[in-house]
Amino acid sequence: MATIRMKPVKTPDLFLECFCISPDVFAGKTPTEISRLEVREGKARNELGDFFDIAGSSGKTAEETDIFIDGDCSRVKYIGSKMTAGSVTVNGNADMYVGGWMKGGSIHVRGNVDSFCGLAMEGGEIQIDGNAQNYVGCAYRGDWRGMRGGTIRINGSAGNDIGTFMLGGTIIIEKDAFIHISTHAEGGTVVIKGDVQSRVGGQMVKGDIYVFGTIEHMLPGFKEIGTVDKNILGQSMKFRHFIGDLGERHPKKKGREIYGNLYLRAS
């Protein structure tokens, strides 16, 4: 493995749009070549090297390339977007679209991220040590094909719209979430280890939701059907099992309707 080390040296006036910060793009390039990659700040065309010191070396392929950014990227968008392999580590915060449209590899942000983290993700792993804003693992506007695979783990809290239009993969929020979990989902798993305010599983067709804490307002479209023991993320627990959204359409399998599952930890 080879590592490209980046250190932020200048804060942009606005925000940097960096589709290029990805092992797929860096692979096979020298630090000098990488520093010349185009980044945009609105209309302004800049080079990556205008904002980061870049050192180290890249691997021949994305798989063999690690990227380590030592510093704050609060004003840097699209880190690790569309990547297929390798890794990106940010020793600080990152802005929107971390791991958007990601297909493989791993991303680790040691601070917080803004919204749209893991947008339309298909594979790979994202780990955020801090909090995430809204729209974690959701679909791009209008697309019915949301997150399809991979894992997103937020060690802190997250806002609204987690796993909207999710089709597959796993999202884990270690702390609390606000509203709208797995809205319109047709698959995938969302685990909220803390509390959720409301609107869990609205318009959900299929998929699984686990809430370890409390749900302040349960939707009327969810019906409790019993208690189950489940082992989730290595923890065995007793859950109240709800199915829903009963207001939504559901596919049939062998004549029986398939519902979304909501598992609420039994107190």
Binding site: Y140, R141, G142, D143, W144, R249
Partner: protein
């Protein structure tokens, strides 16, 4: 603009029976002429194919439902929009391109004219605003009539003269081109959530049948002597077994003769016939009835059709057939837009993925091509994709490739997941017909221009016609063995001259052209009853004033008006 000479190309122009003759095309001030002076700018077309500009008889390119499709599908743009050419407007969207992309892409393919296939009259200012913003290509729009309260009320009483007076008024008010029928009666039924699935289903409340609406509008059309015939999207679109309804509808035209001064011979244009050539009685035993439908068309000269070929893309369906879109939505559960338009029509929009891994989609793809290959008279069978319903218009070159190359068809057939089931349900695998460039020119130029009553402007390279000339990178004496080369050549014209102006060079836009809006002004005797009826409905039932209804002239700043004397 002055003079231009396109030299030494292989001219393929069925309007002059030229099949690859090496000839020069001379242009002066936007018109094709016998010859030009020695100062004329010369375009060397040696070894290349020269054709008249393309004529698209049916596409949804401008207006409220097209725009509803654009609006509700941001995902049709994300990562799917090519970067704009420098100094030109941005080009957004794949299945429903922006107006700028629409104009540019048609020009790149060498098309000179496109007919917007369904204009809701109430929204005609919107249609014309979009046409206004679509560069280069000339456009006209067909207002929809077959679910209109006036039309149903007059035709119920068999009042052809009154229907004609109303049609003439509406064509002028909306700057429309001709009479479009979409799911006659069925869309009116949809206003109550219902449909008319056969031509004898009575329309709720109106006590008239689709068959009567179709027959009445054919009579009206020929009474007025409009340049185009009625243009019909039949009942029961997209339903297994619908070919019977299709044949029933086509039969309504039997014995009717075209009455017009525009060299048009047909009295019915049946559009996107692919969607109407279905056998079976469910999606499980769904099969092709292309042969049955085309056999009928082949033997009835007063009918023209366009194909509506499925291109196996992710696209956006949109039609004034409101109940069909609702039905489609119940199959794929994706987002669904609908607009019912007071007194006039409705429309629906649903995204659709023609997936190679789905049997039905493969069969639909095959049916479109079968129809194109079974046609005995290519000048009555036109290439369309019912853009964007069966695929975007930017796939015409691909359809041309399939029609011209059995090898290309077989390659696609092989790539289908249910290849053998598609082979079982269709005849495509056994058809070895390969369309020639001459036939392609009939199907995309001469034929549609004639059917639209526009052969005096488009579809040919004879002197006096509008100078719309496309030069393609194809050597007639040495046609490519790789069918992909055919698709490539038709996707990006080497040169395209639109109304005498070079607008494309090497497949790139070089000029914004001088686009025109074409519409029909039909003169009829003053009809007090119809005038009173119109005023009455605007007072009682419409929600806008009659004075604010007719489209302003300045929305069509470069009009090309075809005068029709309906009194004669």
């Amino acid at each position: 603009m002055a003079e231009l000479l396109i030299k030494n190309g292989f001219v393929v122009d069925p309007s002059q029976k030229m099949n690859g003759d090496v000839a020069d095309i001379a242009i002066r001030d936007g018109t094709i002429v016998e010859k030009v002076g020695s100062d004329a700018k010369v375009i060397d077309a040696k070894g290349k194919v020269v054709m008249p500009g393309g004529v698209d008889i049916h596409a949804h390119v401008a207006g409220p439902k097209v725009n509803a499709g654009r609006l509700m599908r941001p995902e049709d743009k994300l990562f799917k929009s090519p970067n704009a050419q420098e100094h030109y407007r941005v080009e957004m969207g794949f299945s429903i391109p922006s107006t700028f992309k629409t104009g540019y892409d048609y020009a790149r393919m060498g098309y000179a004219f496109v007919m917007e296939a369904a204009m809701p009259p109430l929204h005609s200012p919107h249609v014309h605003e979009e046409i206004h913003d679509t560069p280069i290509i000339d456009e006209a729009a067909l207002p929809v009539f077959a679910n209109n309260w006036f039309v149903m009320e007059y035709l119920k009483k068999e009042e052809i003269e009154n229907t004609a007076a109303y049609v003439a008024w509406l064509l002028s008010a909306t700057k429309g081109y001709g009479i479009k029928l979409v799911n006659p009666g069925g869309t009116a039924a949809w206003a109550w959530g219902l449909n008319c699935l056969s031509i004898d289903d009575p329309v709720p409340f109106y006590d008239i049948t689709p068959a009567e609406i179709i027959a009445g509008l054919i009579k009206t059309n020929e009474y007025l002597g409009l340049p185009h015939s009625i243009h019909i999207h039949q009942n029961s679109l997209g339903v297994p077994g619908n070919y019977k309804v299709t044949l029933d509808s086509l039969k309504i035209a039997e014995g009717v003769k075209a009455n017009n001064k525009f060299d048009r011979e047909q009295v019915m244009h049946s559009t996107h016939i692919q969607f109407h050539s279905y056998g079976g009685d469910s999606w499980a035993n769904f099969e092709s009835k292309a042969k049955e439908v085309m056999d009928y068309v082949n033997t009835h000269r007063n009918i023209t059709v366009d194909l509506g070929c499925v291109t196996l893309d992710e696209t956006t369906t949109m039609t004034a057939d409101g109940p069909f879109e609702h039905h489609l939505n119940s199959l794929n559960h994706l987002k669904w837009a609908n607009t019912d338009v007071e007194l006039e029509t409705a429309a629906g929009v649903v995204p659709y993925v023609y997936d190679k891994d789905i049997k039905v989609c493969g069969i639909q793809w095959a049916i479109g091509l079968e129809l194109g290959l079974y046609a005995k008279d290519p000048s009555r069978t036109f290439i369309t994709t019912d853009h964007p319903n069966a695929g975007p218009f930017t796939r015409y070159p691909r359809v041309i490739k399939w029609l011209m190359s059995q090898k290309a068809r077989e390659a696609t057939l092989d790539s289908l997941k249910y290849c053998s089931k598609v082979i079982d349900a269709t005849d495509l695998h056994g058809i070895d017909t390969e369309r020639t460039l001459y036939e392609i020119a009939q199907m995309t130029r001469t034929g549609p221009a004639k059917a639209l009553g526009l052969s005096h402007v488009y579809g040919g390279l004879g002197p006096g016609l509008d100078a719309n000339v496309a030069v393609y990178d194809l050597d007639l004496n040495n046609m490519p063995t790789d069918p992909e080369e055919i698709e490539k050549a038709f996707s990006r014209a080497l040169w395209f001259v639109k109304s005498g102006q070079v607008v494309v060079k090497d497949g790139e836009i070089t000029h914004h052209g001088n686009k025109r809006t074409v519409w029909v002004h039909a003169k009829v005797r003053e009809n007090h009853q119809v005038t009173r009826d119109i005023q009455d409905k605007f007072l009682k039932n419409y929600t806008l004033g009659i004075g604010n209804y007719p489209v302003w002239d300045h929305l069509a700043p470069n009009p090309y008006v075809i005068e029709v004397d309906g009194e004669a």
